[in-house]
Amino acid sequence: MIAELAELGFNGLAYGIVLFFMACGLSITMGLMGFANLAHGATAMLGGYVLVVAMRDLGLPFLASLPAAFAVAAIAGALFEMTICRRLHAAGELDQVLLTIGVVFMAIASATFGFGAGQQAIVMPGYLTGRVAFGPIEVSAYRLFLLALGAAITIGLVTALERSRLGVRIRAAVDNRAMTTACGIDVGRLFTVVFALGSGLGGLGGALSVNLVGLDPSFPLKYLVFIMIVVTVGGFGSMTGTLVAALLLGLADVACKYFLPEAGAFAIFAVTAVVLYWRPQGLFGRLA
């Protein structure tokens, strides 16, 4: 029983980490510019397909395909930001939402065109397929890998945000955009960089999720909801909030599927509605 619970918790955390990758870029861009980018799920899907192509068609090893997924998604994000998003910064949320939903629909159609409607299969390297035992508790090696990678990248991100010049600028701009601009920092360019990084992380999350939840053209819509829940519940622009919300959602989802299989995603949506009723600004957000 204990071992089972421990594994459930473990799986939930691993899933939460993937959600965190997919959501954290979006959270920062929303906090920074208030840009409602629902196409973030499509970026994640792009990362997933890059991984599939790199491993299956180009024969690259898994660990080399991950940076490729990051890079392609980041470049796509930067291009999208420079050509289209930029024109909508001043527009209302609804225009942003509509446009990015349009991008999602086009991405779904394009993925169907390129890869068919079915699930994509990849062959994972041997060291990530087995199970690892810690005393009585036995967990999948891939999830252990996810957790380790997740911890490493999260620590890296947090340190970078705390220490680096870029991080300082980002935090300043999230806090007070007008003041940051007045200090001579080009927030527009900063935003492009952040958008690209966020898209890259999203792509990485998408790539990592292929072996966890699968990949098909409906991915952007299916995970859009979870990503948005994480971002809204966590509070826009809050790293900690996003991480906590992602881990909670991951745990809740796994627990839900295990203990209340009939309820499905129902419980999660219900909890989200309650949390937002209680704190419309999210768990870690500030009232505007």
Binding site: I84, I101, P280
Partner: protein
């Protein structure tokens, strides 16, 4: 004399807001004329009316109050299931069925309005989306009520007013939808041109300022959200009656997004924009997915992007800008 003029002028200015104009008569006559002009497409035209009614319900929220919903299919679906359930229970009279559908959806809308009234901008979009998905998920699970994936079918719908039987060609379906659509439209038109409707426009323009006029925003939101849900429920009920089946798709996110697209495509805040957008959307879907159903999504996305990037104010906005001021 001058006094009489200065008193009459503001009255006529305000009255001009709600005056019936001749293009409106032309619009409805043209719609009715479709019965004769396109006898082979009456089923599709009935779909246009249903979608138009659904888009009207969203226009009430978005166009007149500035409340955007990404999960409006929830109320459409509730209406559809309510109408189908009533018919399955043996009550096949269609008009009372619509009233039932609208009432059930309205009750759910009223309940939701308490959550909606507290939320703004992105959180509002997310929560309405979550409500939509919640219902979709619930309907998927509650098979005893909704038939799950299989949906509901195999019920009879009695002739409209006891006279007009539903036929294969969609003649009754079209006229029924047109009639219901026109009546609901008139009611909504009256509603938005009431003092309450003007108050809603104030809410849309500046929601923070409205309480300082002494208006309780929560009450406004409750009324309008309930009414919008009623209209969406009637539209769903119409679909359930006309097609004599309900599929899980009535609650889908695609339908919520679709109705938003129709409204934005036609232009929000004019009522007619909702109808025009719905017509263009449904016909485009028919044509484009006739070419290749898989890539309908691509066209859908492209339309959306085009509307946002090029066509501000939708088709009605475009039509107004082109020939100067046409009023």
């Amino acid at each position: 004399m001058t006094l009489a003029i200065s008193m009459a002028e503001p009255r006529s200015r305000i009255a001009a807001r709600g005056r019936w104009r001749w293009p409106e008569t032309v619009f409805w006559l043209a719609l009715a004329a479709c019965y004769v002009i396109f006898p082979g497409h009456l089923q599709l035209l009935a779909q246009v009316m249903i979608a138009g009614l659904f888009a009207l319900s969203l226009d009430l929220l978005l166009g007149f109050c500035g409340i955007a919903s990404m999960g409006h299919a929830a109320f459409f679906g509730i209406g559809a299931y309510a109408a189908a359930r009533l018919a399955l229970a043996g009550w096949s009279e269609p008009l009372t069925g619509l009233v039932f559908a609208g009432a059930v959806a309205g009750l759910c809308g009223f309940a939701c309005s308490f959550l909606i009234g507290r939320l703004r901008s992105i959180a509002l979009l997310m929560v309405t989306m979550a409500i939509g998905l919640l219902l979709h998920e619930a309907a998927n699970r509650l098979t005893w009520l909704t038939g799950g994936d299989d949906g509901l079918s195999g019920y009879d719908v009695a002739p409209v007013l006891g006279l007009f039987r539903f036929d294969l060609y969609g003649r009754t379906a079209f006229l029924y939808c047109l009639g219901v659509g026109f009546l609901v439209f008139l009611a909504l038109r009256r509603f938005v041109h009431s003092p309450f409707g003007l108050g809603l426009e104030a809410l849309r323009e500046n929601e923070r300022r409205v309480p300082a006029l002494g208006i309780a925003v929560q009450r406004q939101v409750a009324v309008v959200f309930t009414l919008s849900a009623v209209v969406a429920g009637i539209a769903g009920g119409l679909l359930a009656q006309v097609t004599q089946s309900v599929a899980l798709e009535v609650l889908s996110f695609e339908r919520s997004a679709g109705v938003l697209i129709m409204l934005v495509l036609g232009g929000a805040g004019h009522l007619y924009g909702a109808l025009i957008g719905a017509a263009v959307f449904i016909v485009a879907r028919d044509v484009l997915s006739g070419l290749d159903p898989v890539y309908w999504y691509f066209w859908l996305g492209l339309i959306l992007a085009a509307v946002v990037l090029i066509g501000r104010g939708g088709l009605l906005g475009l039509a107004r800008r082109l020939p100067g001021r046409f009023r």
